[in-house]
Amino acid sequence: MKISHQLNASQLYALVLVRVLLGWYLLYEGLAKLLNPHWSSFGYLKSAQGIFSNTFHTLADNPQTLEIVNQLNIWGLMAIGCALILGIFGRFTSLAGVFLILLYYLAHPPLIHVNEVLMTNENTLWVDKNLIFIAILIVLYLFPTSRVIGIDRFICHKRP
């Protein structure tokens, strides 16, 4: 609640901008998958590397778990994206985002021996886009701007 007292106006708006942009990115990621009838997490899971790769492979091998993962991923991305843009349950949303993107990071960790060229055009070493998103979401968790600009302002007003 005290965030508006900690930050000056430009600092606050800059954080809101980061929140909205990240929300846009995640919401569109989810929407694009939803609108593409051929999309499946199969390839991403099946090509997983690193210490948890077996777990991801197992998820891909079973058609039922694969379908659950697909649906959770699509709707999780859309829910988190939407909540970030609108500023709903700011802290919970940030943590949920950290969790989801951490799974992406763990499935394809940019380790030295991993061939990352297959999946993306990025050049990465230990740090990749997912890790940066996780860091941003942690910042958003620590500075819940939704209580100043966002639906949370209304929710906090109702339940002080």
């Binding site: 609108l35 499946s40 609108l86 600009i149």
Partner: protein, 516 residues
């Protein structure tokens, strides 16, 4: 603080809903993007009225009486065909099962267990090498697909000479998977004994033998199938449908090839440690060919010598030729030239390891070209080049429009298709992964020679090929790779071999049916 909780000012409302317009902007953007993609996705297959994923008909082969088989030749290929027919050695089934437990991507066990029961029995096995013969007896007795040797009691008869097997009254049909130099004699004897024949490619070791075998098979009317399992590959059948609809325009050049780069792919197979003059009937092995002292190397790596095999032309060109022949009905070429040499495997072999052959079809106005290396693995597919489009034909089909095409001028000018991108792709079962491992297996798999997909399920093409043959025996028809197709394959391959060995251009006189 109290005031703030009570009053929710207009300023509060604005700040609460400040970011809502962002959703509107995103929604607008998404709608625009979807519209754009709809316009951009142009499916020429729809335009041409092609139904790409109509499923091939399933062959049913169970009905009718049980067919009793004899296996002549139970080495590498014979063992593979027995597995495809549902008779794998218990150790092999166990190995597949263990490998599956270790690696879920290895689907051989599941594929094998799901294979249809063909309603056959194996009554006799003939092999000149004791170890192979004894293994085959156990495989032939393992119709129940057991994984433990102790669970299988051998009840199949071993024949030391194939003539005795052919004389047996409890055998209806034979699978011949011996080296090429025995094919013709065994095929002729089998036909005369009224046994239906499934025989491995290349059809015969020499051109003369192909004439003789065809004559007897036609006279006796036995059901005959040459072992080009590529006949069952869904994408080849689809390629025929597409080409029949003139999707490629006038075809002027066809390029096929072989690229392998491991000893196994160059026929340097391991020599069994128990192979010796006591365990191998060498005299019978060399009976129809030139005499030679016992040689385990020649027995196991027979493909490297002209006395037993037919080199790249009979062994691997035939696969490529038959795939094209089934799609285009090329028949026997008017002429052939060939060249090559032993450039890498200086191991005493006689057959070339690099080989090129060019066949002319003036009546069809096209050239068919083969190029092979056993010392390089660069992937080159079968390419059929037409005036309007080019087709790459493997387990997956891809058709690229030609920039100068007449047929697709409008679509090309409108930017709907381009030569950079496949305009039609056909890839049944694209989401399934294969568990094949060795380089030679990968080579065959990529060329549509190991498995295909029937209604989304991965199926061994050799299994389907044997199944088609059995179905034809039951219904008294000739299968897809019958003696006429086999004859065309054999003569074409022999023309290239003669051109290479005699270093001259070889012609086919279609009227007199003579190689000149």
């Amino acid at each position: 603080m109290e005031d703030a909780t009570k009053k929710f000012s207009r300023r509060d409302i604005v700040k609460t809903l400040a970011t809502v317009p962002v959703l509107g902007a995103l929604g607008y953007g998404v709608l625009k993007k979807v519209d754009y993609q709809k316009q951009k996705v142009y499916n020429i297959a729809d335009d041409l009225g092609l139904n790409l994923y109509d499923e091939p008909e399933l062959i049913t082969s169970k009905a009718g009486k049980t067919i009793r088989l004899g296996i002549i030749g139970a080495g590498g290929r014979g063992k593979y065909l027995m597995e495809a027919a549902g008779f794998a050695h218990p150790n092999t089934v166990k190995h597949w099962h263990d490998e599956f437990k270790r690696n879920k991507r290895d689907t051989r066990y599941g594929d094998y267990m799901a294979q249809d029961n063909l309603n056959i029995e194996i009554r006799g096995v003939c092999d000149l090498f004791d170890v192979h013969a004894n293994d085959a007896l156990l495989s032939a007795s393992n119709g129940q697909k057991a994984t433990e040797i102790n669970d299988v009691a051998s009840h199949v008869k071993r024949y030391r000479n194939y003539r005795d097997l052919l004389a047996a009254s409890d055998i209806d049909a034979v699978i011949i998977a011996t080296p090429d130099h025995w094919h013709a004699q065994m095929g002729i004897d089998a036909a005369k004994a009224c046994k239906h024949i499934y025989i491995e490619k290349g059809l015969t070791r020499t051109a003369e033998e192909a004439f003789q075998l065809r004559k007897v098979v036609k006279e006796t009317g036995v059901v005959f199938q040459l072992g080009h399992q590529g006949r069952q590959t869904a994408s080849f059948n689809k390629a025929k449908q597409l080409i029949d609809k003139n999707i490629l325009g006038k075809i002027s050049l066809i390029e096929v090839c072989t690229n392998r780069n491991d000893p196994n792919g160059a026929w340097v197979y391991p020599i069994h440690p128990e192979a010796n003059e006591n365990t191998i009937d060498w005299q019978q092995f060399i009976e129809p060919t030139n005499k030679h002292a016992f040689s385990a190397e020649r027995f196991f790596r027979w493909r490297c010598w002209w006395d037993y095999g037919t080199g790249l032309s009979g062994d691997l060109l035939t696969h490529e030729y038959d795939a094209i022949n089934q799609v285009l009905q090329l028949g026997i070429p008017h002429s052939a030239v060939a060249s090559g040499g032993i450039y890498y495997f200086k191991d005493g072999r006689e057959v070339p390891d690099v080989f090129q052959a060019v066949f002319e079809y003036p009546e069809r106005d096209l050239t068919f070209m083969y190029s092979a290396s056993l010392a390089n693995e660069l992937y080159r597919g079968k390419v059929i080049m037409g005036h309007d489009a080019t087709m790459k034909m493997e387990n997956k089909l891809e058709i690229f429009p030609d920039n100068r095409s007449t047929q697709y001028r409008k679509q090309l000018d409108a930017g709907l298709i381009s030569s950079q991108q496949a305009m039609i792709t056909y890839e049944p079962g694209r989401n399934t992964l294969d568990g094949t491992t060795s380089a030679t297996e990968q080579y065959f798999a990529s060329r549509g020679l190991l498995y295909t997909h029937v209604q989304g399920k991965r199926v061994n093409t050799a299994h389907l090929h044997i199944k088609e043959w059995l179905e034809c025996i039951r219904t008294n028809q000739q299968p897809s790779c019958d003696i006429d197709q086999a004859f065309e394959e054999a003569i074409t391959a022999h023309m290239a071999t003669i051109a290479y060995r005699e270093n001259r251009k070889v012609y086919w006189d279609a009227e007199k049916e003579q190689i000149i």
